[in-house]
């Protein structure tokens, strides 16, 4: 049985099931012969116009309102026959296949009506809006970027669905219809001499195109990400990689940070002279733990926005900020480096300054919000080996309590040291 026969068989079975369902519901509500949707439209007259739309949902078209609604009573809004986020799945059971690699959040949550009109629409598939306009309703930043970039990727303008599946993908992340580079190779022929020349004869047909190219368009030629590593911009691939005709052309000439040290020796040597290291810098992946070596949409070739990037390892710290009642602006603004050195430091916690009081003082004039003494002259009564400082009363990444204090009330905080006031 070939695919065509299978599809025909599936169509027939679906049709039988649909008719059986309708017959079942008719039986359930004991409707008058020929009543069905006509009875409903007797009151819901405004629906008459809706039914004139170019695309009408099949149950609506055949007047099967009871497929989704309960005509008498319901525990759900709009007299729906089931929970709003589950009702579509009664018919569209396989919208997210069991083998899905990635799935669209709104689909998982059953918010089908964010994209589809359940009754009728002027757009194919009952979509609320046509083309990319619908996607950019939620993915606004992407929409703005796509419209503003100088160098556009043609398929994006034609429609997001050229590359993405709106519901789920069984093949790749990001709802992509196929993995990269297979997806890209559907249009781009790597055997083209010009293509090969542009890629310095490296066998990129097996590489991940999106490590250099922004598939949504860019302000750089060749839709490279906006921030391009100079050797890439100058097509000096073999500065870091083996020659294109070597047995392993993508292998780097040196491992880890030692490769980057070739150019960034001042920065790396300075980092290696500090007391405290951010250890991942010297791990096997080295600089690539945080940086994309080719190009990035983030500054300093960071792989992702800083908070997200730091949060890949320090998830607990970022989560604490997210759950904090009072937000600490540097973290909220996504700039961890206001307080921390990303590579190395002579200070505890990789702080930018040896003194926490001075560090906090770069933004906060503490005298204006508190007259509590701080500094080395004032030992912490809880621990004589410490002195009172900002972190004695606040946790910089936040707490569940106001002003980032580590206790539920200010009284609870103060009596930690001022025990004479404890009641």
């Amino acid at each position: 049985m070939n695919l065509r026969h299978k599809l025909i068989l599936l169509f027939i079975v679906s049709g039988i099931l649909c008719i059986a369902g309708i017959a079942g519901s008719q039986e359930q509500f004991n409707l008058k012969p020929g009543a069905r949707g006509k009875v409903c439209l007797g009151c819901h007259v405004a629906f008459q116009d809706k039914l004139k739309s170019a695309f009408v949902h099949t149950p609506v078209k055949i007047g099967e309102c009871t497929g989704c609604h309960s005509p008498h009573t319901s525990s759900h809004g709009k007299l729906l026959a089931a929970e709003p986020n589950k009702i579509c799945l009664r018919c569209h059971k396989t919208i997210i296949p069991d083998s899905a690699v990635s799935s669209h959040k709104v689909v998982v949550e059953g918010n089908c009506v964010k994209c589809h009109d359940p009754h009728a629409s002027a757009n194919k598939f009952n979509l609320l809006k046509a083309g990319n306009e619908l996607c950019f309703g939620c993915h606004k930043d992407m929409g703005d970027k796509v419209k503003s970039v100088k160098f556009k990727h043609n398929p994006v303008d034609k429609g997001c669905l050229n590359c993405h599946n709106p519901h789920a993908s069984t093949k790749a992340d990001f709802l992509l219809n196929d993995r990269v580079p297979s997806l890209c190779l559907g249009c781009h022929k790597t055997t083209n001499p010009l293509f090969q020349q542009k890629h310095m004869n490296y066998p990129v047909a097996s590489a991940k195109c999106t490590t250099c190219h922004n598939p949504h368009g860019s302000n750089k030629g060749g839709i490279l990400y906006d921030d391009v590593h100079p050797p890439v911009a100058q097509r000096m691939c073999n500065q870091c990689h083996e020659a294109p005709d070597s047995p392993n052309p993508f292998a780097t000439k040196k491992p880890g940070f030692e490769l980057c040290r070739g150019c960034h020796s001042t920065m790396i040597n300075e980092a290696l002279s500090k007391n405290k290291l951010h250890w991942p810098v010297l791990s096997k992946r080295g600089c690539l733990n945080c940086h994309n070596p080719h190009a990035s949409s983030q500054s300093s070739l960071l792989k992702e926005p800083m908070v997200k990037l730091c949060g890949t390892c320090h998830a607990d710290t970022i989560r604490r900020q997210e759950q904090s009642v009072t937000k600490h602006p540097p973290i909220q603004d996504g700039d961890c480096t206001v307080c921390h050195q990303p590579h190395a430091s002579d200070n505890s916690m990789l702080f930018q300054q040896p003194s926490v009081i001075n560090l906090c003082g770069t933004c906060h004039d503490w005298q204006k919000h508190s007259t509590h003494p701080v500094g080395e002259k004032y030992p912490d009564p809880r621990n004589k080996n410490l002195f009172v400082m900002c972190l004695s009363c606040h946790r910089a990444h936040g707490t569940p309590y106001k002003t980032m204090i580590p206790f539920a009330t200010i009284t609870d905080l103060c009596i930690q040291c001022h025990q004479q006031f404890k009641r």
């Binding site: 491992p255 880890g256 030692e258 290696l272 002279s273 500090k274 007391n275 405290k276 290291l277 250890w279 991942p280 010297l282 791990s283 096997k284 080295g286 890949t312 390892c313 320090h314 998830a315 607990d316 710290t317 505890s348 912490d380 809880r382 621990n383 004589k384 080996n385 410490l386 004695s392 930690q416």
Partner: protein, 303 residues
């Protein structure tokens, strides 16, 4: 005949009582014993990150912020002494170990090398990595010395554990497991089984003494731990993990089951604030480098 019957009874009782023995870990309960935050001259510790202890009551502290080691004797449930060891070759010690001869080993974070000192604190040299397979560069994030004085280095650059004999000669290597997050520490039990701690995934992997690869013994335990950084086992084989960000200790059974938390975050005695290395002596005392509280704390197990 009677003997055979008696043997059967013993075997039966052993099987019957086995579950009670394995539940032992659940009963772990640490109680505060003492805190020390200064050397023998009263000079305070600064951000101490490392601590090692042995069955001869020796305790060595890596007083990292002051760039020195401090040597104590644990007696009558208190640390006595606290003499300073500050060789010129040591800049920023963060992890320490003692071998069976009382020699001191210290990982210097600034130099990223493991220094070997005599029991008297005299500098003897660095553990050399000559003979190690490629890559030549070795970046020790942590290390351990086992009961036979073999040295195990957690090399994050080569993504492997390097094993050296007591003289410092390279013996073999075991690669880090696939898909690890970030390996911060390791432990070795008396049978030579290696335990690897993944801080990012909050997981533990093990490799038997003759194994060539690590396998996980736990699932991700991120719901129980924030950022675990140090791992040690007690004499029963129960695994303990110090959570730096969480300011507490997790207890894990030999089979990798999470058994519960001990201790809490805070500044007062008995509480931890960004703790780092810890050790357990043969009598079951826990010695913890309580880094951001600038002290060492001692706990005993409630029996």
């Amino acid at each position: 005949m009677k003997m055979k019957y008696a043997m059967k009874v013993i075997v039966f009782l052993t099987v019957l009582l086995l579950p009670f023995k394995s539940f032992g870990a659940e009963n772990v309960n640490l109680i505060f014993v003492a805190a020390v935050s200064a050397d023998d001259k009263g000079n305070g510790m600064r951000l101490p990150e490392g601590i090692a202890c042995n069955d001869k009551s020796d305790v060595v502290v890596a007083d990292s912020g002051n760039g020195r080691l401090l040597k104590y004797t644990f007696k009558n449930e208190t640390l006595q002494g606290g003499s300073e060891i500050k060789p010129a070759q040591l800049s920023y010690p963060v992890i320490v170990q003692l071998n069976s001869k009382g020699e001191i080993f210290a990982l210097d974070e600034k130099q990223r090398r493991v220094a070997r000192l005599g029991a008297d604190g005299a500098f003897e040299g660095f553990v050399e990595t000559a003979g190690v397979p490629a890559p030549d560069t070795v970046v020790p994030r942590s290390f351990r010395v086992d009961s036979s004085d073999r040295i195990y280095i957690c090399d994050i650059f080569g993504a492997r554990v390097l094993i050296f004999d007591p003289a410092g000669k390279f013996v073999r290597q075991i690669p880090f497991p696939d898909n690890y997050g970030f390996i911060s520490d390791l432990a070795v039990d008396p049978r030579g089984k290696i335990y690897l701690l993944d801080s990012v995934r909050a997981m533990i992997y093990t490799a038997a003494a003759d194994a060539t690869a690590f396998t996980p013994i736990t699932k991700e335990m991120k719901e129980y731990m924030d950022f675990p950084v140090s791992i040690t086992l007690d004499s029963r084989g129960v695994i303990y993990v110090v959570d730096k960000d969480g300011g507490n200790m997790s207890v894990i059974g030999q089979d990798g089951t999470f058994m519960g938390h001990q201790l809490q975050r805070g500044w007062k005695e008995g509480l931890l604030y960004y703790p780092s290395q810890f050790c357990i002596d043969d009598k079951g005392y826990f010695f913890i480098a309580d880094r951001n509280n600038g002290r060492v704390q001692i706990f005993s197990m409630l029996k």
